[in-house]
């Protein structure tokens, strides 16, 4: 390598210093800065004992809850403050409510063109005699679609929390849930069983009636589903899990909810899509008052009913034993 300047001069240049620093052959600080290794930190025994003692004292002072003045003051303050705050909130809301339009007055802002159309042309447009059903399942079906999924997702969170998937306990023994569950309850209670035998069929049939008649009179999927769920819970209480397992397992619930929600979703997708794109819907409304009328409402009611019944029953069995 040819260099224009001699080595001794080159070693003084900045570029040589930088190069040697990068190579690691020379540390820029060595020889120019005084460096001293720090001694390791060590504590003598006396301060250690003192420190431990202080720690212990501090801990006792903090965790001695019964005699802790701060906590006691806080507790008293907290309860007083809670009551005061709730009273304040209640008063404020009551004052605000008193300024609202008076209830049932014909001039109220609520009585506008929206409710007018629901009442006057609800029957022709939805084909449902029960205007409320027409409103929730046809005019505002998107909200109800969301609402039925609220039920579904609530069931799923309960499944996450309470479903027992482990069949063995910590020591590898089988967990016999059925036996544990029955210890504190009368088994084969004759009175309950006889009553259930009489009551359960009418309850379930009544539930089905309420669902199917949702577009004709008071009722619908939510109320009918709740009735069916109550019937199933009564049956379970009287006859135990062995009997219900014959027709209601986890798989049954899954298939039921998927079919019902899928059916709801697809049916409503069709009507949302055709409605938004101004395509004529092919679903006939039928004659108002007949059981097969009002377009999709009957099907949607059945779907909602199935979801609600499944949700009720699932909640009960999850809280009862954590499995179907």
């Amino acid at each position: 390598m040819s260099r224009k300047i001699p080595d001794s001069e080159y070693e003084k240049t900045l570029s040589y210093k930088l190069k040697s620093w990068l190579d690691g052959t020379k540390d820029a600080f060595v020889g120019t800065v005084e460096m001293k290794p720090q001694p390791d930190f060590c504590e003598d025994e006396e301060t250690l004992i003192k420190r431990e003692k202080e720690k212990k004292q501090r801990k006792e002072r903090v965790y001695d809850i019964a005699n802790n003045i701060e906590i006691n003051i806080f507790k008293k303050f907290y309860s007083v403050f809670c009551v005061a705050f709730c009273l304040f909130l209640v008063t404020m809301l009551l004052i605000a409510v008193s300024y609202l339009p008076s209830y049932g007055h014909p001039e109220n802002p609520v009585n506008n063109e929206v409710s007018e159309r629901y009442i006057e042309s609800g029957l022709q447009e939805t084909g449902a005699v029960n205007i409320v059903t027409g409103m929730i399942l046809d005019y505002r079906a998107f909200d109800t679609l969301g609402e039925s999924h609220v039920l579904f997702i609530a069931t799923c969170t309960v499944l996450i929390l309470l479903r027992r998937d482990r069949k063995k306990d910590e020591w590898g023994n089988d967990i016999d849930i059925e036996v544990n569950d029955r210890i504190y309850e009368p088994k084969n209670d004759l009175i309950l069983q006889t009553a259930a035998r009489v009551l359960v069929p009418p309850i379930i049939i009544f539930g089905i009636y309420v669902i199917l008649g949702g577009h004709l009179g008071p009722g619908g999927g939510f109320s009918g589903g709740a009735i069916i769920g109550a019937g199933l819970i009564l049956y379970l209480n009287a006859f135990g899990f062995k009997k219900t397992e014959r027709f209601f397992k986890e798989k049954t619930y899954k298939i039921m909810s998927v079919c019902a929600l899928g059916c709801y979703c697809l049916a409503k997708s069709y009507s949302f899509y055709t409605g938004a794109n101004h395509i004529e819907s092919v679903i006939p409304l039928g004659t108002p008052g007949a059981i097969l009328s009002s377009g999709l409402i009957l099907i949607l009611n059945i779907c909602v009913g199935i979801v609600v019944a499944g949700t009720m029953y699932t909640f009960y069995v999850m809280f009862r034993k954590g499995g179907y």
Binding site: M92, L93, I95, A96, V97, Y99, L100, P101, N108, P109, V110, N111, N112, E113, V114, S115, R117, Y118, E125, D138, Y139, R140, A141, F142, D143, L145, G146, E147, H149, V150, F152, I153, A154, C156, T157, L159, I160, L161, R163, D165, K254, I255, S257, V258, L261, G262, C265, K268, S269, S271, F272, Y273, T274, G275, A276, N277, H278, S281
Partner: protein
């Protein structure tokens, strides 16, 4: 009508439908379905964004055969489409990043339940973004709350169940107040559709009739949504919920769930009540005060925390405070800054959660501050990612956090009365941010003695072992740099969207 116009409806229904379907699938198929749904919805939102940018005006999509005040409708503009696209991208990265954690932390049979929660959460976020009806918004707020609870407690330890309980109580209180607010508004205006309520509210304001109930409704809805999005005095549920849940859940909760509620609040300000009435009502001043308190107290709490995940969670409180300060400034520039901060915080906070899980992996899963010494060398990518996220949070130029702080400062200049306090609070909060984030960065790049590493059994972590997490981290770093370096088009997009919004 162009077919693109149907995409918002299709994306909502697709994610809604994917929920129940996941319940009958096994773990692998449910995961695949979930990823496919998020990707498809992201692509569709991209198309919608281009379509709306092309036509330059928003459009109304009727849900069903009945027009708006009678039936439901959704409304699509630039801001909505951009938000949907951004949420999909962040959610995809969050879900991908936590694959390994989910395998070890969730019971084998409950994986599909997790994907149900994620699908329905996405659905509710999309519905909150697009809806033009207050009651629809309430229904999907419910779905959002319940699925967020599920996401927290899917990892079943005492801590998460306690956190989920707290979250449920606070969040239901928020929902209740929000519902009460809707009831008040309905009985005053007789409408649930946002545009009609706005017209009626303007009439009421002009005539001075029903002044007190209108004010009460605004207060109830603001406080309800503030509780749900963890504004400072209502933040007590936040550190446990973010700190102990599984990685994907923490990232999704911090970057998306609270942002959905904030977006809904912006919607209420602009579309339901009208920003002029909100300004006159002085509610934003209250939000401003709480926002300032949150900016400072959140950071102080984060400094006192020695658990890294909880520290990042507390930092969220401070960042939510920034967003509410933007509202409190009461001008359009403030709202633009808030929306930009929603994007920047979502990108940065999810990056920080993923990176912190990366560096704890290299420290034998210990989350204690002192065990993290030198972990930046043991897991190189996570170290870099954490540094990028920290610098962005502190607000160093080139990173996204700088731009949002700049926008906040600019917005503060326009407001004569609040300029001083905003700038001082911004400065203090930036210094406090620097204290705890840079402290951690220095800690993870301080070499640990070899014998300690061997004694505690810390392992080096390589990219090839954690492909999914590395991919997510690289994408989030890129997103951060994108927001930091090319902020101009994003800000213009937000401005145009906000004009369309009002």
């Amino acid at each position: 009508m162009e077919f693109v116009r149907n995409f918002p409806l299709i994306s909502i229904l697709l994610s809604l439908f994917a929920g129940p379907v996941s319940s009958v699938l096994d773990k692998k198929k449910a995961k695949f379905l979930n990823l496919a749904v998020i990707i498809i919805i992201g692509i569709m939102s991209g198309f919608v964004l281009f379509y709306v940018l092309g036509t330059g005006q928003e459009y109304v999509y009727t849900m069903g055969h009945f027009p708006a005040p009678w039936g439901n409708e959704i409304r699509v503009g630039i801001l909505e489409a951009a938000m949907a696209l951004f949420f999909c991208v962040v959610m995809l990265l969050c879900v991908i990043s936590g694959v390994l954690e989910r395998d070890s932390e969730i019971e084998e049979t409950k994986h599909n339940l997790y994907y149900i929660m994620v699908n329905l959460l996405l659905c509710s976020l999309l519905a909150l973004i697009y809806t033009n009806d207050l009651f629809t918004a309430y229904v999907f707020v419910e779905i959002n709350t319940i699925s967020a609870c599920g996401l927290i407690m899917i990892k079943q330890t005492g801590r998460t169940i306690e956190a989920a309980m707290r979250y449920m109580i606070m969040s239901l209180l928020g929902s209740g107040l929000f519902l009460l607010g809707i009831c008040f508004l309905y009985s005053l205006t007789g409408h649930l559709l946002m545009s009609n309520i706005k017209a009626q509210a303007a009439i009421l304001q002009a005539s001075g009739e029903y002044h007190i109930p209108l004010l009460t409704a605004i207060c109830l809805m603001s406080v309800g949504l503030a509780i749900k999005s963890a504004l400072y005095p209502f933040h007590t549920w936040l550190p446990d919920a973010y700190g102990y849940s599984t990685l994907s859940s923490a990232a999704i909760l911090s970057s998306l769930v609270s942002k959905g509620y904030i977006f809904l609040l912006i919607k209420i300000f602009y579309r339901v009540i009208g920003f002029e009435i909100i300004k006159e009502s002085k509610v934003i001043n209250v939000l401003f005060v709480f926002g300032i308190a949150g900016m400072i107290m959140g950071s102080i709490n984060a400094i006192r925390e020695s658990d890294i995940q909880r520290m990042i969670a507390y930092s969220s409180v401070a960042q939510i405070g920034y967003i509410y300060v933007g509202f409190g400034l009461g001008n359009t520039a403030g709202i633009i800054a808030s929306i930009y901060h929603i994007l920047s915080h979502a990108a940065t906070k999810s990056l920080l959660f993923v990176a912190s899980s990366g560096i704890t992996d290299a420290s034998g899963k210990s989350r204690d501050f002192f065990d993290l010494t030198g972990s930046g060398y043991r897991n190189k990518l996570a170290g870099v990612a954490f540094t990028v996220g920290s610098l962005s949070m502190v607000g160093i130029p080139m990173f996204s956090g700088f731009i949002s702080k700049l926008l906040f400062a600019q917005a503060a200049v326009e407001n004569r009365h609040k300029i001083l306090i905003t700038l001082v609070a911004l400065a203090i909060s930036t210094i406090l941010n620097a204290v705890y984030f840079l402290k951690t960065v220095v800690r993870i790049y301080t070499p640990e003695k070899t014998e300690v590493v061997i004694n505690k059994g810390f392992q080096d972590v390589y990219m090839s072992e954690q492909k999914a997490k590395s991919f997510a981290m690289i994408c989030l770093i890129a997103l951060n740099f994108f927001l930091g370096l090319f902020s101009e088009p994003v800000v213009v997009l937000i401005e145009r969207g906000l004009e369309m919004f009002a």
